[in-house]
Amino acid sequence: MEPVNLFDLATRQSQWLAVRQTAIAGNIANVNTPGYLARDVEPFEKVLDRTGMMLGSTQPGHMGFGATEASFRTQAQEYNGALLPSKNTVVVENELMKAGEVRRAFEMNTAIVKAFHGMLLSVSKG
């Protein structure tokens, strides 16, 4: 296993978290849309396995955001609950819970980056 750059990994995870947040927003916005299936991103471990630590690997047909070339697959999730007549599969409580997870992971991510960045700065100071 080659050594992994902490800052690169943190950037990668924060991009993945942002895409997940977008998928959650789409689900909540479409909570009453007939026929809408709830979507989510693929797990972060799968992204790492698929693309390694390299930033900038693109695959056609995936949702990409902004100037970065990192793309993450989102897909409709399997639904095992009782199906509504409108065929909508969004459960608002689950979406809000996922949003909470995203927030916690994001806070950890920025805190780690801030701490190591601060350490680097303190070493080069004076």
Binding site: M108, I112, F116
Partner: protein, 102 residues
């Protein structure tokens, strides 16, 4: 009777102190033990940094206990801060000595 080795021996209760205090203890005996103390402080600092980095990578992948990561990073920040302070003191001491008129 304090020998160079005796100055560096830390009881288990004191192992959690920072490298700065361990250095001040060994400062009572001058000479070769100071270099040993510095080396020990530096290596413990590197060890804590490596541990903090490894735990942070696990946390970014989503597999770590929050409190453990926070403790490891704080500990690394503490030892790094102490090591940088020592380095700065050594540099300024050297400059002061080099400015002394012969």
């Amino acid at each position: 009777m304090l020998g160079p080795v005796g100055a560096l021996r830390l009881t288990p209760a004191l192992t959690s102190e920072t490298s700065a205090t361990s250095l001040s203890q060994s400062g009572t005996t001058a000479g070769a033990s100071f270099a040993d103390a510095l080396a020990k402080a530096a290596s413990s600092s590197v060890g804590k940094l490596e541990n903090a980095e490894a735990l942070s990578v696990e946390a970014l992948k989503g597999n770590a206990d929050t409190r453990q990561v926070v403790d490891a990073v704080m500990s690394a920040q503490q030892t790094l801060q102490a090591a940088v302070a020592i380095r700065d003191k050594i540099v300024s001491a050297y400059l002061e000595v080099s400015r002394m008129s012969i």
